[in-house]
Assembly symmetry: C2
Homo-oligomer: 244 residues x 2
């Protein structure tokens, strides 16, 4: 895949995922935070010591693994003990990124459960454990995809400015590399775009709902405080693993 094509296709995926994430946040915010679904063991021994959300996520990943989801370079599982695909292997066009072992899903899950859910959901317990968990799994998968897309972003930046980035990678200079891959103008653009999208999609029609918690400001904050920094973390880890 050539440089320009990689950049364009990466941008398109990132923009498309904004809708998925914002819709997902609005869906999840319909239910109370339901903290019990994140507590390991809260639902008895049948969930193998997992929380309800962990159980559903694990079971879902087992199905998706059989459907070969995780053979795609832009998908990252939260669990490692997954079955082999039962579908014949897809012929992927050559992956534009290099083989690597970067996977920060443990951190994504912890940030999501401990910070994002309390931020977007009404506090308390409404008993909607199943619906909340289904929504959580969808959001966790979308956030993971968005954040790990940092690999494609980093690859694109590397090909564009190898002469600047290569020495920083070789010197293992994390701080300088972080600075070199940061484009504040692009970040400001993303933040403004998600604010606008949230304003559009979050528009409550038909009334009769809870007060609206997924405000444009909250979506912007989720991007600014978690999604963008975690994405940058993936970019750095990918670049340090990349052969230069």
């Amino acid at each position: 895949m050539d440089k320009q094509l990689l950049l364009t296709s990466t941008r398109n995926v990132l923009m498309r995922l904004e809708e998925t994430i914002i819709f997902g946040l609005i869906e999840r915010a319909q239910f109370a935070s339901n903290q019990v679904i994140y507590q390991k063991g809260a639902f008895g021994s049948e969930l193998s010591g997992e929380s309800l959300v962990g159980y559903l996520l694990h079971e879902t990943e087992q199905i998706h693994a059989r459907m070969r989801r995780y053979t795609s370079p832009d998908e990252h599982p939260f669990f490692t003990d997954l079955p082999a695909p039962i579908l014949p292997a897809l012929v992927f066009s050559e992956s534009p990124i290099q083989p690597n072992a970067v996977n920060i899903n443990a951190e994504i899950r912890s940030v999501y459960e401990q910070q994002l859910v309390p931020l977007i959901c009404p506090p308390g317990d409404d008993g909607q454990y199943g619906s909340s968990s289904v929504s959580d799994v969808m959001l966790l998968q979308a956030l993971s995809k968005r954040i790990h897309y940092g690999k494609f972003v980093a690859e694109s930046k590397y090909r564009d400015r190898e002469e600047v980035l290569k020495p920083l990678i070789q010197a293992m200079d994390r701080e300088a590399l972080a600075k070199a891959i940061t484009d504040e103008a692009v970040e400001a653009q993303v933040l403004e775009r998600v604010r606008l999208k949230a304003q559009t999609y979050g528009h409550q029609l038909g009334g009769g709902q809870n007060e609206f918690r997924v405000t444009p400001e909250v979506v912007q904050r989720i991007y600014a405080e978690w999604i963008i920094p975690l994405n940058k973390q993936v970019q750095l880890e990918y670049l340090f693993q990349r052969s230069v």
Copy 2:
């Protein structure tokens, strides 16, 4: 549950599901129609003769059944061979509807696969089988919930106008009963509201996408031609099974 509370809570659920369905349609429309995922046996013998979507739906329902999804009176599985719940039974407040065996999911699935998907998705095959199937399962579940909510609607109407509906049910007069439960003003309101919502949510920001297929008119048509009539069919079947 008293009559007024039943009416209000039913209305709120139906309105909330409009968002879920419209978001789901927009998500699914990002991918090509990918007809091969609906063809039984297209992916070899490992899927027990099911199509890819059927396989994912079946596997998903097995997990959700273990999480006791289908013990709730507003949830209806597409498959019948599902495992028992592993979670302790929820103490539901007394169900406002009567026990019944109405389940038109086979029809919903066939309408969805054969008519809705070709309507909303770009024709052809983009290889996005996993993402398309995941989106299909989500939409099928939301459509099933919306359509089977006709049971709550019908119960509410019965309690409100028992003196009118009871004789029609006893006379097994399907045509007159269909007419008696139809409120054209309410239907027009629903159609106008979903058109407005689709206009709001479907607003394409950020550009760079395919032409927009989930137009307000398409959403309105999906409600007018499929969701509302199928919902009415559920209402009728429920009333004929109701003890009067």
